[in-house]
């Protein structure tokens, strides 16, 4: 386990390791994000998947710069605006 204050063997912080991994993985449509979460008080890099397929899972390394990498499937991320294919159009009565 890696605690908050330690840096891993290559001397990069967990934030630097996360950034390195996110630069690599975010080009992939099957990946929604890369961040840092906590499990029982220990920080770890988390790869958030848009889709759970063997091909996408194969992209995720077990560790990055010595930090363990966890995986969580969250689905695709979209703006939180009202999503509607046919948005309301003002009627003539309102013009």
């Amino acid at each position: 386990m890696v605690s908050k204050r330690q840096t891993a063997k290559r001397g990069r912080t967990i934030r630097e390791a996360k950034r390195g991994l996110s630069r690599r993985l975010l080009a992939q449509p099957g990946v929604s994000g890369v961040g840092i979460g906590e499990v029982a008080g220990d920080e770890r890099i988390v790869v958030y998947l848009a889709e759970d397929t063997p091909a996408v899972r194969a992209l995720v390394p077990g560790e990055a710069d010595g930090y363990p990498v966890a995986v969580e499937v969250i689905g695709p991320v979209v703006p939180r605006v009202v999503a509607d294919a046919a948005p309301y159009r003002p009627s003539a009565a309102h013009d």
């Binding site: 934030r15 996360k18 950034r19 996110s22 975010l26 080009a27 449509p29 990946v31 929604s32 994000g33 890369v34 961040g35 840092i36 979460g37 906590e38 499990v39 029982a40 008080g41 988390v46 958030y48 848009a50 499937v73 969250i74 689905g75 695709p76 991320v77 979209v78 703006p79 939180r80 605006v81 009202v82 999503a83 509607d84 948005p87 309301y88 159009r89 003002p90 309102h94 013009d95």
Partner: protein, 332 residues
């Protein structure tokens, strides 16, 4: 670790507490009045959750007792104290502040026209569907000459870059029936979104308020008490157009994410804040809550909601400090 209570036992214990504390009396207490330490004044909600909500993997279920204010045990009459256990199930008392309620949380029809409009309800650029008014802000520093703006997302107030300064902003947003007769503001400026693979830091914009149309307060949250840097494991609240008042917990403040803006393109964001809903208000947000301001339990502003998963209870926000800096604005 102690034995974990079964979910059925926890729910039964919650029902038993409901009869004892949520008799309707607490709902009549004025939202901003200081509650007394007795349970009928102070308890605003009950839920089922983990005894230590931040350590998700320890998993011990408890009855959550949401109170307006936590009092030292000595200040509470012995008969009024919330027991440590109920029918063998542990209780967990959590302070949620002087909010109006835990579900829904407002009496305002938040998808309809309101004048004046509080923050936290429907708004939109004339070409979009609908999002949420986040907060009222002013220019920072020497440029401040008293102009008031609504703060929301670029994709709510500026149609994800497809807009011009001076465009009309409607309350409610077009999807909720807003028209040119419902204009409350005009687009002033936005942080431009990069759809070419570069880093984005904020999906944010401001629009100058037409006099008398928008209140400073956020629906069901009230006035802000300053700002705070988002950190993992803190409890947060927001009031938005679609899901109203919800509570959640921040579990990541370093999330680099890929957001699909459909026809506009894909935008990569760095260092976003991830929030998950807390029972009973899950999910933390849904489509239409874009632009909602996220505050901590002390009503301090901490982030601007802008994205989320459509399949899981995962919401993303930009840290408020980044938003304020990039738009050169400040809170009231």
């Amino acid at each position: 670790m102690s034995a974990t209570a079964g979910e059925a036992a926890v729910r039964s214990a919650k029902r038993s507490l409901m009869g004892r504390y949520l008799t309707g009396a607490s709902a009549s207490v004025a939202a901003f009045a200081l509650p007394g330490p007795g349970p009928t004044d102070n308890v605003v909600g009950l839920g089922v959750g983990e005894k230590v909500p931040l350590n998700r993997l320890t998993g011990a279920l408890a009855v959550k007792v949401y109170v307006r204010r936590k009092y030292p045990e000595a200040d509470i009459a012995p008969g009024d104290r919330i027991p440590d256990q109920i029918d063998g199930v542990p209780t967990d008392i959590e302070e949620v502040g002087t909010i109006q309620a835990l579900t829904g949380g407002c009496t305002v029809a938040r998808r309809q026209r309101q004048r004046p409009a509080p923050c936290g309800i429907s708004v939109g650029h004339l070409q979009i569907t609908a999002g949420t008014i986040g907060a009222v802000v002013r220019d920072s520093g020497a440029t401040d000459n008293g102009r008031r703006y609504i703060l929301s997302n670029n994709h709510v107030l500026a149609d994800a870059n497809a807009s011009q300064v001076g465009d009309a902003i409607w309350q409610p947003g077009p999807f909720d029936g807003g028209t040119a007769a419902d204009q409350i503001a005009t687009l002033t400026r936005a942080v431009s979104l990069n759809f070419a693979g570069g880093d984005n830091h904020a999906d944010a914009a401001i629009a100058e308020i037409a006099p008398g149309t928008v209140l400073d307060e956020i629906c069901a949250i009230g006035p802000l008490a300053g700002k705070v840097t988002p950190t993992r494991n803190i409890t947060v609240l927001k009031h938005g157009r679609t899901t109203g008042l919800t509570r959640g917990v921040i579990t990541d403040v370093d999330a680099d994410i890929r957001v699909d803006y459909r026809e506009a393109g894909v935008a990569l964001f760095v260092n976003t804040v991830l929030i998950r809903g807390l029972p009973p208000t899950t999910p933390f947000s849904a489509g239409g809550d874009s632009g909602a301001l996220i505050v901590d339990a002390g009503q301090r502003a901490c982030a601007l909601l802008f994205a989320g998963s459509s399949t899981t209870d995962v919401t993303f926000a930009n840290p408020l400090g980044t938003v304020l800096r990039r738009l050169r604005i400040r809170l009231l």
